[in-house]
């Protein structure tokens, strides 16, 4: 078990509205809004934040925000690889910094805006798409994910209905969350099935939305978090990694149906001392529904053969499903701040403040960007789970 287990906790969360693309204003300002909100939520001064950790192509660096936050001293700053795959890994980096005394109060955040950034899709992909994709008509992540998911459905026989279940679960939860972009949008089976194809096997509702916004969580030592807040969300484990045979291999990853979590999931359960059967609720990063389905399988909630039976709408919804997922709506229906909103929701479930609260929730999972060259997952728990 990792010595980091339970040594740190999330004490503050902050998230901006999910603005329509290009209407949210500068990303740096959005980052400040989310971070100040997270500090207020934790009951600390923003000036006390001494560590900044993000992932992907984050451009709102801590050093850029210091004058506005009143930062006394920046003692730690880092970026986790790769794209959305690195989100829980960013929590792990923050926890490592705190546990080793390099920083005391570390914010993990992400800000996105087309106001002053490149088109979001380009920004997120860091413009590092290989020639093999682009010269063969593959531009968007949804097309590349489609290649993996064809393997999952046609190659491994996982029913395509699992994709619909993922999409409908997110939209179902968004109906209780007034802050969700998909609030008020009923995604019936008919509406899903009649939506236009984007890149087979994906339809319009299989792909995440793009928004301007920012989200942040503040980590600190478990002791300090207990002093500050009634319900710290303790970080039990948040491994980042990739096994041999996975990575930026341009379609040569094995097994290609997967989301690349095999090694990370193994470490997550070993480090935390828990297993999939113990998890109360999960925020499953779904850049596309099929990759979310593969992430659920990768983490051992079901096998390929059981996927059709397990990954159903009824099983995926709060409060009583076997594995309620994306309880604020997820990337599909809450909105897309490069997946960071999922971390905020994972913490809400531990606090008991989700708009789709799972009763008696004590173990809350967040899985990072599936299919990324490097991935990570985080398990958060209540005091009783330590």
């Amino acid at each position: 078990m990792s010595t980091l287990r339970g040594s740190t906790a999330v004490a503050g969360i902050g998230i901006t509205p999910h603005h329509k693309r290009g209407t949210g204003g500068p990303a740096l300002k959005l980052a400040l809004e989310a971070i100040v909100a997270a500090a207020e939520d934790a009951g600390i001064s923003p000036a006390d934040i001494d560590g900044f950790v993000s992932y992907g192509s984050e451009r709102s660096e801590g050093q850029k925000m210091m004058p506005a936050l009143g930062t006394k001293e920046l003692r730690f700053a880092a970026l986790a690889w790769s794209h959305g795959g690195g989100i829980p890994g960013a929590l792990n980096i923050a926890a490592s910094a705190i546990a080793t005394g390099q920083a005391e109060t570390v914010v993990v955040y992400r800000s996105l805006s087309e106001y002053d950034g490149a088109r979001l899709q380009v920004d997120v992909a860091q413009n590092d798409t290989a020639a093999q994709f682009l010269v063969n008509g593959l531009d968007s992540p949804i097309q590349m994910c489609a290649i993996n998911t064809t393997r999952l459905i046609e190659g491994e026989g996982v029913p395509a209905e699992t994709l619909k279940a993922m999409a409908q679960a997110g939209y179902h939860h968004a109906q209780q969350n007034p802050a969700a972009v998909g609030h008020g949008v009923q995604l019936t089976a008919e509406k899903y099935e009649n939506s236009r194809w984007i890149s087979e096997p994906y339809r319009l509702f299989d792909s995440s939305r793009e928004n301007d916004g920012a989200a942040a969580v503040i980590l600190m030592s478990a002791e300090r978090a207990r002093d500050l807040t009634e319900k710290p969300a303790f970080l039990l484990s948040a491994p980042l990694g990739t096994p041999a045979g996975w990575g930026p291999l341009e379609g040569n990853q094995n097994p290609l149906w997967s989301s690349g979590f095999s090694s990370v999931a193994k470490r997550l359960w070993a480090e935390s001392g828990y297993g999939p059967q113990d998890v109360d609720v999960a925020q499953i990063y779904e850049n596309t529904t099929g990759m979310g389905v593969a992430a659920i399988i990768d983490h051992g909630f079901c096998t390929l053969d059981e996927a059709g039976e397990f990954i159903t709408f009824d099983n995926l919804i709060a409060p009583d499903g076997r594995l309620p997922i994306n309880t604020a709506g997820g990337n599909l229906a809450e909105g897309f701040i490069h997946g960071m909103g999922l971390v905020v929701e994972a913490v809400r479930q531990i606090r008991g403040t989700s708009t789709n609260q799972v009763r008696g929730c004590s173990l809350s999972l967040m899985t990072g960007g599936p299919g990324d060259a490097v991935v990570s997952s985080a398990l958060l728990g209540t005091e009783e789970t330590l």
Partner: protein, 160 residues
Amino acid sequence: MSAVFTQEKFRGGIAADDKYWEALADGEFRLCRCAQCGTWMVPAHYRCGACGSWEQVWPLVEPLGTIYSWTRTRMAFPRTEARADDVPFVTALVEVDGTDGARIFGIVVDTGTAPHIGDRVRGEIRPGTEKSFGYPTIEWQLVDAPTPAPGAGSTEGARA
């Protein structure tokens, strides 16, 4: 070498793989192997992680294989807008015969229907166009042969 792609090269991949495109520009389908232990290296890299050799060879490979996966793109995307008139078009990931399962992407010549995993294909080398950003490409054509069952020809590892 008159290849246009070297003027506007994508930086996303690993430059060790440039020889793949240079060979295609010369009308040859060549894939990378370790010069010492023979491990296929697709995409190519600078050092063989299996044996430690820094030397590679690029043997000629017959462009024949099996569709491992595919997608049919149904809308125009920003960076590949030059293909807007081709929508819907199929991009396949093809497992190349005799390479221990190395996979290469390519457009599938339009047959009006979606392909299947396991379909046999033969590749034709096409010169670079605006659609391919000046890069030469391999275009896959379905081979008129009995279709193996889905998943056949796979060298994929055990289910994780």
